[in-house]
Assembly symmetry: C2
Homo-oligomer: 343 residues x 2
DNA sequence: TTTCAACACTACCACGTTTTCGTAAACCAA
DNA sequence: TTGGTTTACGAAAACGTGGTAGTGTTGAAA
């Protein structure tokens, strides 16, 4: 078990100074060829690699970016990570991931932990609790310290920073419109509780689509679900009354539960009940029937978010004083993926 | 935009030495109460937090662990990460994630990148390509440098280190046995190509269960699939011939594809065809019919792996010279989750 | 012989922290 | 006053790196 070799050890071994070694390895012309080659050979033999920590300390750059997301066991979020990681890796960055578990405290803790030098910038999606509380001091603080933050998907207007989102409202509108186009009249919306920003926006799109088509906007058809487990009961009741002939669910878990419930009750999808879900994921694809979804390319979001962050990081390098904080909000386009749950 | 404050700045501001500040903040009795409180108040006001990078350099500990997995958009792996993250966080560690994309080169690159001081230890699952090549020099190298490695799920006997696995053979045996118990005679095995270690083991368990029950082991019933896309064609052909009445699939993607194919052909699951899948995931749960699976608790694996790594990290602290490398291999228990795809 | 440039390398500083050692001042006992 | 102890703090090294500035030697031109 040999510890990693350092410049100092090489220097000692070859009886030259540390700086000579350093310069030799960087091929500086200051160093004579003989010495240079000797050092390089030695370094290669002992597999010298500069210590990242020391470099980070010196350069005040860690070349790693922090990701904070509510949970990782979630198709959408893992695709986003995938997207971030791709771009990060291409640019020589590593990725540090922390999970907030949808808890405000954990989000704050994780941010503080990473903000103390561990990373160069953040990419994050807000936890439910944070959105509920509306307390973003931990984020502003980080930003004030000059650490760039890019938010995605679950964002807030209360924070000025780069953002990557999809046009939730427009996408919801499109989905509901397609249901209407297929002759559906009573379209239910199955959504989460309001404080999750995206839930609100999708509801808005749903409402607008109905009104634009002269259909009544009926509060009773908006089913707010906090917990997936309660979904089945609520749904079966409404299905029993045949209260609707189509469902727009804000996520695929709701959608698949609805389909399963409907099937149990002898209803046919899509004949008796058409279903569209937000967030294209693995469940929709493999459900029976497979579910028509609004694609929400997590990978693209991740790509974009990483690009924005890295651009800002490298730009900062150049002009440090000039505070040109022209934050942008990037909108990733969505489209409907037609599958078996709609006709 | 104020940069984070440092000890030096505090020292300068209060006109004391850096050491005085450091000691005051650590509540050293060496420092007089007046000075101590003054420093503490000042530090609190400016929200001083020690710089992690500097601490890492000093302590030769980064308090972060590196995870290298083939892909993240994969239910099993994300549950493992979840498990790792839980334990890591509890013990004050962060988690750095790199994806090998099932590529040998990326795996090597990522390891080298992280090994240069960025992390204290690795938790990893081998990429397919690495298993195929059988080249593990990058891992031995890291281990030789004194950096602990814990492997999980896709492991190799060629490396001496701590491991967390499930008893793939026994689990496969149990699954196949349960099919036999239900009166199935012609049980097909749908598996991946051999070089993925777990695929081999599961095949062994399958074979043993058949032989132990006096059933013929028929090579024709072992269907090796490299790509999910080709799965459907292969399967439909065999289903057409009614070559088997039960399927044991080594992952849930295969299983759900088989079920879908069978349904299309008018076969009923489980009446005409019973299906069991390895790797309990989200698809199995929400498939129609839902799929009986061998649970493979990724979370538990992650927990265990993290525990083992951290234990070793903290232990190393104590006895540095004494090389007590009593590596252990932890076996996580599995059990069958009965669902609708079997009777 | 002096001067000056080129060469080959070394010294030193900074990054932020902790820790060991040192020491000045104050106090006390003899 | 002397010697010794305590109190309260400071200086400096160390972790590993990289850049700037500096130093000493050599050889050649003036």
């Amino acid at each position: 078990m040999k510890r990693k070799i350092t410049l100092k050890q090489i220097a000692k071994e070859l009886d030259v100074s540390i700086s000579t070694v350093s310069k030799s390895l960087r091929n500086s012309l200051e160093i004579g060829e003989e010495t240079r080659l000797k050092v390089q050979a030695f370094a290669k033999f002992y597999n010298y690699k500069p210590n990242n920590i020391a470099l980070s300390l010196k350069n005040r750059k860690t070349k790693s970016i922090g990701i904070i997301i509510p949970e990782i066991v979630h198709y959408f979020f893992s695709t986003v990570i995938n997207g971030i990681e791709q771009v990060a890796n291409e640019n020589g960055y590593s990725v540090v991931i922390c999970l907030s578990d949808d808890s405000f405290d954990k989000e704050v803790l994780n941010m503080e932990m990473l903000a103390n030098g561990s990373i160069d910038g953040f990419i994050m999606s807000l936890s439910k609790e944070t959105q509920y509380k509306g307390d973003f001091h931990h984020i502003t603080e980080v930003i004030n310290q000059g650490m760039p933050v890019v938010m995605f998907d679950r964002v807030t207007n209360d924070i000025l920073c780069d953002k990557v989102i999809i046009d939730d409202k427009a996408a919801a509108y499109e989905a509901v419109q397609s249901l209407i186009d297929n002759g559906r009249k009573k379209i239910a919306l199955v959504t989460t509780v309001d404080y999750v920003s995206v839930g609100k926006l999708r509801t808005d799109g749903y409402e607008k689509a109905l009104l634009d088509n002269g259909l009544p906007f009926n509060e009773d058809l908006i089913i707010k679900i906090e917990d997936v487990d309660t979904c089945e009961i609520t749904i079966s009741q409404l299905l029993h009354d045949r209260a609707f002939d189509a469902v727009f669910a804000v996520n695929e878990l709701f959608a698949v539960t609805i389909i399963k419930t409907a099937s149990k009750m002898g209803l046919k999808v899509p004949e008796d009940l058409a279903v569209i879900a937000f967030t294209d994921g693995i469940i929709s694809k493999y459900s029976t029937p497979s579910i028509t979804t609004v694609s929400q390319s997590g990978e693209k979001m991740g790509n974009k978010a990483a690009k924005m962050l890295i651009e800002r990081l490298e730009a900062e390098h150049v002009d440090d004083d000039e505070e040109n904080e022209n934050y942008t909000t990037e909108v990733i386009e969505t489209h409907l993926i037609q599958r078996e749950s709609t006709d």
